[in-house]
């Protein structure tokens, strides 16, 4: 998995509440293999018109945001389907972080498995960042995971992140390897559990 330490990159505002994972990537693309890449399907049905041409009113299509790696979204971003392809699509289109007031739970978890940092900030702060980006399209944000800050010019916002997830992102750790360090604990738990609940297995 890619490491995430600090990131300074263009941020694109996307003011859509309850942006579901069907919108991030429509179901018809889910059959795609990981190796084929998902970037071109990102927001496909709202990003392109019926003829396949980019819609100029969709923020990601504006030249100022062409190199964006940070998405500044709205409440309940990534709600709905568990499709990890929603994260693959963002990742493959170059994104490494999403800032929003809240996230769909499964999407939030999926981000960490793909080197993507989801950042929760209060709704007013996210709205302020979006407004600032809209006024000056193409200005960068800096995300410092170690110090848990988002910076724009002289403005600094602090965010919380679970210590274990932070560690995995900073080091690019595979969490299966981390879990297998607990293999004897799993075996001990399982032996006792099965002794108590023979009917489950």
């Amino acid at each position: 998995m890619d490491k995430f330490e600090t990131l300074t990159a263009v941020a694109v505002p996307l003011k859509v509440a309850n942006c579901d994972t069907d919108r991030i990537i429509p179901a018809r693309f889910l059959k795609t293999r990981r190796s084929e890449g998902f970037g071109r399907h990102l927001f496909c049905d709202v990003r392109y018109d019926a003829s396949g041409a980019p819609r100029h009113d969709f923020p990601l299509n504006r030249p100022a945001y062409a190199d964006a790696k940070i998405l500044v979204a709205d409440a309940n971003f990534g709600c709905g389907s568990s499709r990890e392809a929603a994260v693959y699509a963002l990742h493959d289109a170059g994104f490494r972080a999403v800032i929003a007031p809240s996230f769909g739970d499964i999407f939030f978890n999926n981000c960490f498995k793909n080197g993507m940092l989801p950042i929760v900030l209060p709704a007013e702060e996210v709205a302020a960042i979006r407004a600032a980006l809209t006024e000056n399209p193409g200005t960068p944000l800096t995300i410092d995971l170690e110090n848990q800050t988002v910076t724009r010019g002289n403005q600094v916002w602090s965010f919380a992140v679970d210590p274990q997830r932070k560690q995995c992102l900073l080091e690019g750790l595979d969490d299966i390897n981390l879990t297998l360090q607990h293999r004897s604990a799993i075996d001990r738990f399982e032996a006792q559990y099965r002794a108590e609940r023979a009917w489950v297995e």
């Binding site: 999926n110 274990q164 607990h182 297995e201």
Partner: protein, 471 residues
């Protein structure tokens, strides 16, 4: 003599959580997974395992069946679309190689994972059950802690039989009153989401309780828990009771004999202790509820059938107002339109929300002696549901009414198998999501119960099924 109150009263959510903790580290818990469901969309996880040279740790605790990509018609000719066929055949190969039980496309037990799990008794009270599908919350209806996970987490569970989680906050949703005759789980859950919003239960595991929940059949409870995710909940469950135990008894994976007695004793210890507290509590009264229909592009956009399309300009919050205006534009609806005047082009009856035998019986009772005005698809949730329906003659009733009787799968809920609606078309659907493009690019979805969907089929518009004339 009354039992003494426990010193530390716990909710059912806490009890299941506590009994599955393997270890804790930095605020994260490594939780043991009892059971794991897999489907034809789980290929990323198997691909990853293979690439990393890992093996499936506990194949006996998994069960697989294809649902997202299977055709619902002409199945004896195989799967004509190569991409879909590869995924369905991939599941066959992956499960065979790892020793996981698989109900293939020609097996009568094949179906939507969330129909198959409870139907087989694979889903049981008190267990932790996961699946790479957000509607895994369905299984909470039997008193399991069940939640959807992503592909990387599926891979992790396959390799370790465990999952890292943060302890969820708990939320109690009390459903008071008595549900009017003919209404069901779908009306209850749409009313709940309409009240608390699509993010109303975010970060929480929900326990549904109260007399209207107790009075629901197991099918109705499965429908309620199924849509927990549409309120943002991590999981939604209902404490097991005699309805649960009667449903489970005799199912293939259910324990028998002494094992049943031991299981039952444990299951009876699961309900929330008196005096236990929740992080949040919400109450809704469903006496007097009318059948619910959605008008927008979020499941929270739900209203009773005797209502009208709301006027978003009355919403004070600007962001919310804009999103609802956009929803009405997408849906092609004008504020103030009576819901009962909205005409439909397609009807879909099925899905993990409403593809069970009780759902089909309700739909058939409306279809009997009437004719479909618009193309209507009936897709049973599993091969066993299909068999049961045919044994009861429901397939004949549907055929006589001009409803298409299909083979089991996810079908038009999300259209991954090609069962979609065309752009601009309006569907009455018993599924769970009315998101933009959910049933096909540009398609317009209205969620409702099987009774309401069948009534829409025979009248061509949203109709309170209780007001249908004689057939």
């Amino acid at each position: 003599m009354a039992d003494a109150l426990p010193a530390h009263p716990r909710t059912i959510i806490d009890k299941i959580w506590d009994s599955h903790v393997i270890t804790e580290q930095n605020g994260e818990t490594l939780l043991y997974v009892d059971r794991h469901l897999l489907h034809d969309g789980s290929f990323h996880a198997f691909d990853g395992l293979k690439a990393e040279g890992r093996r499936v740790l506990r194949p006996a605790q998994a069960l697989a069946t294809p649902d997202h990509y299977v055709p619902t018609t002409g199945r004896r000719h195989g799967i004509p679309v190569a991409d879909y066929r590869n995924l369905v055949e991939g599941l066959v190969a992956n499960t065979a190689a790892s020793g996981i039980t698989h109900f293939g496309m020609d097996d009568p037990r094949q179906g939507i994972v969330h129909i198959v799990g409870p139907e087989q008794g694979f889903t049981q009270p008190g267990i932790v059950l996961v699946c790479g599908d957000s509607h895994t919350s369905t299984h909470g209806a039997l008193g399991a802690l069940a939640f959807g996970i992503g592909a990387s987490e599926v891979k992790h569970v396959l390799a370790t039989q465990s999952i890292w989680q943060r302890r969820p906050k708990t939320m109690r949703i009390a459903v008071e009153g008595r549900l009017p005759e003919g209404l069901g789980g779908k009306d209850v859950i749409l009313a709940i989401i309409g009240q608390i919003s699509a993010a109303g239960a975010s970060g929480h595991a929900v326990e549904y309780c109260g007399p209207a929940i107790r009075a629901l059949s197991m099918e109705g409870r499965l429908t309620v828990c199924n849509m927990s995710i549409e309120a943002g909940a991590r999981a939604g469950l209902i404490a097991p009771d005699d309805t649960t135990f009667a449903y489970l008894a005799g199912r293939p994976y259910a324990p028998v004999g002494k094992a049943w007695d031991a299981a039952l004793a444990h299951w009876r210890s699961l309900p929330t202790d008196a005096g236990a507290t929740y992080d949040r509590s919400v109450t809704i009264d469903v006496s007097g509820l009318a059948p619910m229909v959605t008008w927008g592009t979020s499941p929270e956009d739900a209203a009773p059938i005797d209502g009208r399309v709301p006027d978003p300009s009355a919403i004070a919050d600007a962001a919310r107002r804009e999103s609802k205006i956009r929803a009405l534009e997408y849906m092609g609806l004008k504020p103030g339109t009576p819901l009962s005047e909205i005409e439909v082009d397609r009807v879909f009856i099925g899905s993990c929300t409403n593809g069970r035998i009780e759902d089909l019986r309700v739909a058939a009772a409306i279809a009997r002696g009437r004719k479909a005005r618009v193309p209507t698809l009936v897709v049973p949730g599993s091969g066993l549901v299909r068999q049961q329906a045919e044994a009861e003659g429901l397939d004949r009733i549907f055929a006589d009414a001009g409803f298409e009787w299909r083979e089991p799968g996810c079908s038009m809920c999300l259209g991954t198998n090609g069962d979609t609606i065309a752009a601009g078309m309006r569907a009455a659907s018993t599924s769970n999501r009315n998101f933009e493009g959910r049933q096909g690019k540009g398609g317009r979805t209205h969620l409702m119960s099987p009774a309401m969907a069948a009534a829409a089929a025979v009248t061509g518009r949203f109709t309170d099924f209780r007001r249908l004339g004689p057939s």
